[in-house]
C-alpha cells in the first residue's frame, strides 16, 4: 500500500515535468499546476515514508521496464521510508515556496520557467526513485537522473559565468561519483548473483574485496554528499541555483547520498570492518571542521550556507563512522545510538538547511544581492523571514531546545562510549573527533552570529536593503512550517528516536538500549543513569524562568517607560552603517587564529590622491588549489602532449600504421 502511494508520488513528479513541457506557453498556469503536483507528490511521499517507517514492513514491486533480464525493482522499507519522508517534507515546503520565488522569472521571461519546473520535477522524481529502487541498474538511472536534472537547475541562469562553471564542475564530479558507485555495485554484483539488492546482499566477499567495494562506495557517495576533500562542487553549485533548488539540493539531495551510503554499507555490503569506520569518522570530522572554517570566511550568504552543508554532512559522517566502529567491534547498542544520531541529523539538517536557504532566497529576492556586506537591518523590513531565519540559525548551531542539538547530543553520547572499546587507538581517535565536533559547534555559533548579525541586525548597508519588504505569503508559509518543525523535532526527540530505532534494529540487529526507559519527557539513549536530555522539560524550564523574570520585572516596566534614543556614537557624529562590523571584520580574529586553514591573500592599496585606501581580501580553498587545479593542469598538459599524435603530416600517420602492423606481426609471430 505504502509503496503504491510512493509510486504515485513519483508519477506526480513526472506529471509535473510533463505539465511544464505541455503548458510551456502559459507560464503562470503551468507554474501553479506544476508546483501543485509537486506538493501532492511530497504529501504522498511523506505519507508513504512515514507509514513504512512506523509499520516497519517491506514492500516490493517489480516493474516491467528496464533490461529484459533485470526488471526495475522498487521497494520500500524503514530506511527508504525515512528518507522518502524527509525528501517529501522538503518538497512540500519547496512547492509552497517555489511559485512565488520564481515569479520574477515568469515576469521577465529571460529564462523560460518551463525549464526550471521541468527539471525540478525530474530532480525530485530522481530522488524518490533512488530511495525506492532495489537494484543497481535502476538505482544508477535514478541517481544520474537526479544529478543531470540538478545540473540543469544549477545552470538555469546560464547567462552568468559563475553559474556555468559551477554547473560544469558539479556535473563533472557527479559523473566521477556515479562511476565510483557503479564500480562499487559492480564489485558486489560480481561476487553476488545479479544486480538486484537482494542478490547483492547475499554476496560473499573476502575482506579485501569488501574493502575495495567499501572504498568505491565511500568515494562515490562522498562525492555527492560533499565531504572534504570531495566537496569542491558544493560551494560552487548551491549558491547559484534558484533558492528553492538550493534548499532541496542542500537539504535533501545530500541526504539521498547518505542514504545510498547507508544502504550500500549496512544493507548490501554488511560485515563492517572497524577500519572503515575510522576512515568515515576522520573524514567526517575533517569535513565538519573544514566546512565551518570555510563558511566563516564567506561573504556570499548562500555560499556560506553551502559550506555549512559540508560541515553538517561531516557531522552525519561522524555519526556513521562511530556507528560503524561500534558495530564492527561488537557493540551494536552503541552503534545504534550513533546510527540514529546520524539519521536524526539527516532529518534535522534537511529541515534547518532548507529553512535557511528559503530565508536566504527571500533576502535575495528582495535585495537582489548575494553579498552579506551589503545587507543589514532586515529584521525590521522582513520580520517573519527574520524570525524563521533565527530559528534556523539556532537549530544549525545545535543549541537547545531545537532539533540540531538533539542529533549532535546523540553523536556525543555515542562518542563518549569509546571506553567500551577498552583503550587502543580507537579509544583515542573517537574522543578527539568528538573534540573536533565540539570545536565545529562553537565555530558554527560564531559563524551564525556573524550571518544573523550582519544580515538581519544593525543598519542597512545599501539602498536595495532599505527598500526591502516582507516576502509574499507563499514564501512565508514554507519558512514558518519548517521553523515550527525545527522546534517540533527538537522537542519530540524521544518519539523520533524511537521511530528511527527500527533502522538499527534491522541492520545491526539491536536498537538503542536506553530507549525503553525513555519517556516523552526525556530521552536516554544508553541508560537513564548515563545520560539523558529532556527537551520538553528544557523548554518548560526556559519558559518558566522567562515568565518569572518577566513577571518580576513587569512592575518596574510599568513604573518607568522605556526611552528611545540614538545609540552612543563616541562623540564622533552620527552613526553610519559603514562603521558596523562586516563579515570580514567579524571573522578577523578567527582568521588570525586559524590562518593555516585557508589560502588568504590580503591586499591593501595605499591611498591615492583621488580615492582612499582600498583593502581587499580573498580567501581560497586550499583543497581546490592543491588537489583539483593540478589535475586540470595535468590533463591539459597531457592533452597538449597527446595532440602531437595528430600532427598533421600524412607520412607520419602512415608511419603509425606501418609500425603498428610490424609490431603486431612481431607480437603474433
Amino acid at each position: 500500500m505504502s509503496l503504491t502511494v510512493a509510486q504515485l508520488a513519483v508519477l506526480a513528479t513526472l506529471l509535473s515535468s510533463l505539465v511544464a513541457l505541455v503548458l510551456a506557453k502559459q507560464p503562470r498556469l503551468m507554474v501553479r499546476l506544476s508546483f501543485l503536483l509537486l506538493g501532492a507528490s511530497g504529501v504522498a511521499a511523506v505519507w508513504s515514508g512515514v507509514t513504512a517507517l512506523l509499520s516497519n514492513q517491506i514492500d516490493e514491486v517489480v516493474l516491467p521496464i528496464g533490461l529484459p533480464w533485470l526488471h526495475v525493482i522498487l521497494h520500500l522499507d524503514a530506511l527508504s521510508g525515512f528518507f522518502l519522508a524527509v525528501v517529501g517534507l522538503i518538497t512540500i515546503a519547496a512547492s509552497f515556496y517555489g511559485p512565488t520565488y520564481i515569479r520574477r522569472h515568469v515576469e521577465d521571461g529571460l529564462h523560460p520557467v518551463a525549464t526550471l519546473t521541468f527539471f525540478t520535477g525530474l530532480f525530485v522524481s530522481g530522488m524518490y526513485l533512488v530511495l525506492l529502487s532495489a537494484d543497481a541498474f535502476s538505482f544508477m538511472i535514478a541517481w544520474e537522473l537526479m544529478s543531470v536534472a540538478s545540473y540543469f537547475l544549477v545552470a538555469y541562469q546560464h547567462d552568468r559565468a559563475e553559474n556555468r562553471s559551477a554547473a560544469f564542475v558539479y556535473l563533472l564530479m557527479a559523473v566521477v561519483g556515479g562511476a565510483f558507485i557503479l564500480l562499487g555495485y559492480g564489485v558486489l554484483a560480481g561476487f553476488g548473483d545479479g544486480f538486484s539488492f537482494a542478490a547483492m546482499a547475499d554476496a560473499k566477499l573476502n575482506s579485501t574485496w569488501a574493502t575495495i567495494a567499501f572504498l568505491l562506495a565511500f568515494v562515490g557517495f562522498g562525492l555527492k554528499a560533499g565531504v572534504v576533500p570531495l566537496h569542491v562542487w558544493l560551494p560552487q553549485a548551491h549558491p547559484v541555483a534558484p533558492s528553492h533548488i538550493s534548499a532541496m539540493m542542500s537539504g535533501v539531495m545530500l541526504k539521498v547520498a547518505v542514504y545510498g551510503f547507508i544502504r550500500f554499507v549496512y544493507d548490501l555490503l554488511g560485515g563492517i570492518q572497524w577500519q572503515w569506520g575510522v576512515l568515515v569518522l576522520l573524514v567526517g570530522a575533517f569535513s565538519a571542521l573544514m566546512g565551518v572554517l570555510y563558511a566563516l570566511m564567506q561573504h556570499d550568504l548562500k555560499r556560506l550556507l553551502a559550506y555549512h552543508s559540508v560541515e553538517n554532512l561531516g557531522i552525519i559522517y561522524i555519526g556513521l563512522g562511530l556507528s560503524m566502529i561500534f558495530a564492527a567491534t561488537g557493540h551494536p547498542a552503541i552503534a545504534a545510538v550513533a546510527l540514529v544520531a546520524a539519521l536524526y541529523h539527516c532529518l534535522n539538517h534537511a529541515l534547518f538547511k532548507s529553512l535557511l536557504f528559503f530565508g536566504a532566497g527571500a533576502v535575495l529576492e528582495q535585495s537582489r544581492q548575494h553579498d552579506m556586506d551589503q545587507m543589514g537591518g532586515l529584521i525590521k523590513k522582513m520580520p517573519v523571514t527574520a524570525a524563521c531565519f533565527l530559528v534556523g540559525c539556532v537549530s544549525i548551531c545545535a543549541l537547545p531546545p531545537f532539533n540540531g542539538f538533539v542529533s549532535e547530543w546523540l553523536t556525543f553520547q555515542a562518542a563518549l562510549q569509546a571506553t567500551a572499546l577498552h583503550g587502543g587507538i580507537l579509544g583515542a581517535v573517537i574522543p578527539i573527533t568528538a573534540a573536533m565536533l565540539a570545536l565545529t559547534g562553537a565555530l558554527a555559533i560564531a559563524c551564525f552570529v556573524k550571518v544573523y548579525g550582519v544580515v538581519f541586525l544593525g543598519l542597512p548597508r545599501s539602498k536595495q536593503i532599505e527598500e526591502a519588504r516582507e516576502v509574499p505569503f507563499g514564501m512565508q508559509v514554507s519558512q514558518v512550517v519548517l521553523a515550527v518543525l525545527c522546534l517540533g523535532f527538537g522537542l519530540m526527540s524521544t518519539w523520533t528516536a524511537t521511530a528511527l530505532n527500527v533502522i538499527p534494529q534491522k541492520f545491526l540487529g539491536e536498537g538503542m538500549a536506553g530507549i525503553e526507559s525513555s519517556t516523552w519527557l526525556w530521552l536516554a539513549p544508553i541508560s537513564e543513569k548515563t545520560a539523558s536530555y529532556g527537551a520538553p522539560a528544557v523548554l518548560i524550564g526556559l519558559l518558566l524562568s522567562w515568565t518569572v523574570a518577566y513577571l518580576l520585572l513587569h512592575p518596574l516596566r510599568r513604573s518607568n517607560r522605556t526611552r528611545i534614543s540614538i545609540p552612543w556614537d563616541c562623540g564622533f557624529g552620527p552613526l553610519s552603517p559603514r562603521m558596523q562590523y562586516t563579515t570580514s571584520s567579524f571573522a578577523m580574529p578567527i582568521r588570525r587564529v586559524f590562518s593555516f586553514a585557508w589560502h588568504v591573500s590580503e591586499r591593501v592599496k595605499p591611498a591615492q590622491p583621488d580615492r582612499g585606501p582600498h583593502y581587499s581580501l580573498q580567501v581560497n580553498d586550499w583543497i581546490w588549489l592543491k588537489c583539483y587545479l593540478p589535475v586540470a593542469t595535468i590533463i591539459h598538459k597531457t592533452a597538449e602532449r597527446t595532440a602531437r599524435i595528430q600532427g598533421g603530416n600524412l607520412r607520419v600517420y602512415l608511419c603509425y600504421s606501418f609500425f603498428t602492423l610490424l609490431f603486431l606481426l612481431w607480437v603474433v609471430v
Binding site: G376, G377, I379, K380, V394, L399, P400, F412, A415, L416, A418, T419, H422, G423, G427, A428, P431, I432, A435, M436, A438, L439, A442, I445, A446, F448, V449, G453, V454, L457, G458, W522, K529, T530, A531, Y533, A537, V538, G541, S545, W546, A549, L553, L556, R557, N560, R561, T562, R563, I564, I566, P567, W568, D569, P577, Q580, Y581, S585, P589, R592
Partner: protein, 314 residues
C-alpha cells in the same frame, strides 16, 4: 514532588547567592590591593539600583535586543537548576547533562552576541566578534574536559558524576588532574575574568563582554549582569563540586542538604579567594595572546583525555 520543590529551592539559592560571590571576589581583591573596597553585598545594591533605572533603548534596536536579556537570564537560571549544587538526587539533573549545560551557555552567548550586533555600532560588533572567537576556542577544551570526566565516571550526567566521585576512594587520576586544570583555565576565560577579559574596565581596545552590552541599561542590564554573575557562580560550583565532591548530599534528606549548602558556600568562597589572588598577581593579556592561553587549556584537556585512555583504561 518534594524533589522538584527542593530543586527549585536549590536554584533560588544559587541565583540569590551569585551576586554575593562577585561582591566577595571584589572585596578580597580590594583588600589584597590595599584599597578601601565596597562591601561584599554591594552587587545586590547595584542590581536594585539598575532595576529602578529607566531603560534607554537605541532607536536602531530590534526585538532581538529586547529579548536577549530574558533569554540569557532564563537560560542561565535553567543551567543553575540542573547543577548538582547541594544534592545529587534532584530530578532536574536528568533534564540535562553536561553537554546540554554547555549548550545552555552557548545559547546564552549566541543571543548576547546577536544583541551586540543589533544596534549597529562598532563596539557591539567588536565585542561579539571577540566573544565568539574566545568561546569557540574555549568551548572545545571545556567539552573535552567533560568528555574525560564522563568517560572516567561513565556518565555525562553531572549528578551521577558527582555521586561517583564522592563515593569513590581517593584516587590520584592524572586524567582528572589535567582536566581540572584545563577546566579552571577555561572557566576563567568563559566567565570573562583576567587575564582574558576585565569586567571592571570599559577600555575599548581590550573589552569583550562589556563591549557587547554597552548599549544596555536599566532592567535589561540588570538581567545581563545578574546572568553573568550567575555564570561565574555556576562555574565555581562546578569546579568545586567536581574537584572536592565532599559534602554534596547524596540523598534528599533536609539535614544533609542544609549541611551541603553550607559546605558548598564555603568551598565556593575559598575558590573566590583564590580567584581574587590570581587576578591580583597577573595582568590582562592582549587579545591575540588569548588563543595561546586557550591552547594551553586545550592541550591540558587533551593530555587529560590521553592519559585516561592510555594510563587508566585497562
Amino acid at each position: 514532588m518534594t524533589g522538584w520543590i527542593l530543586a527549585l529551592v536549590q536554584t533560588l539559592f544559587v541565583v540569590l547567592f551569585a551576586p554575593f560571590l562577585v561582591g566577595w571576589v571584589k572585596w578580597v581583591k580590594c583588600k589584597l590591593q590595599n584599597r578601601q573596597g565596597p562591601a561584599p553585598w554591594q552587587p545586590y545594591r547595584d542590581l536594585l539600583r539598575l532595576s529602578r533605572k529607566q531603560v534607554v533603548l537605541a532607536n536602531t534596536a530590534s526585538p532581538i535586543f529586547r529579548a536577549a536579556p530574558y533569554v540569557v537570564f532564563g537560560v542561565t537560571v535553567l543551567a543553575a537548576s540542573v547543577l548538582p549544587t547541594i544534592s545529587t538526587q534532584l530530578p532536574t539533573s536528568s533534564l540535562a547533562d553536561v553537554i546540554v549545560l554547555v549548550g545552555f551557555f552557548a545559547l546564552a552567548r549566541f543571543f548576547l552576541a546577536l544583541a551586540g550586533m543589533d544596534v549597529g555600532t562598532a563596539f557591539g560588533g567588536m565585542g561579539s566578534s571577540r566573544e565568539v572567537t574566545i568561546s569557540s576556542l574555549a568551548e572545545p577544551a571545556m567539552l573535552m574536559t567533560f568528555f574525560t570526566l564522563s568517560m572516567y565516571v561513565s556518565s555525562t550526567n553531572l549528578s551521577s558524576a558527582v555521586a561517583f566521585l564522592s563515593a569513590a576512594h581517593f584516587t590520584l587520576a592524572p586524567s582528572l588532574i589535567f582536566s581540572f586544570m584545563a577546566l579552571i583555565l577555561v572557566a576563567v576565560a568563559e566567565t570573562g575574568r583576567i587575564p582574558i577579559d576585565n569586567p571592571a574596565t570599559h577600555l575599548e581596545l581590550t573589552m569583550i563582554h562589556e563591549a557587547m552590552i554597552l548599549e544596555y541599561s536599566g532592567r535589561h542590564l540588570l538581567l545581563i549582569e545578574w546572568a553573568s554573575m550567575l555564570k561565574l557562580t555556576l562555574y565555581s560550583i562546578l569546579i568545586v563540586n567536581l574537584i572536592v565532591p565532599w559534602g554534596v548530599s547524596l540523598t534528599l534528606d533536609p539535614h544533609d542538604m542544609a549541611f551541603a549548602a553550607l559546605t558548598v558556600l564555603g568551598k565556593v568562597m575559598v575558590l573566590g579567594l583564590l580567584l581574587a589572588i590570581a587576578e591580583t598577581v597577573q595582568a590582562k593579556m592582549r587579545l591575540f595572546r588569548a588563543p595561546q592561553y586557550l591552547g594551553v587549556a586545550f592541550i591540558l584537556a587533551l593530555l587529560g583525555m590521553m592519559s585516561h585512555i592510555i594510563l587508566e583504561v585497562q
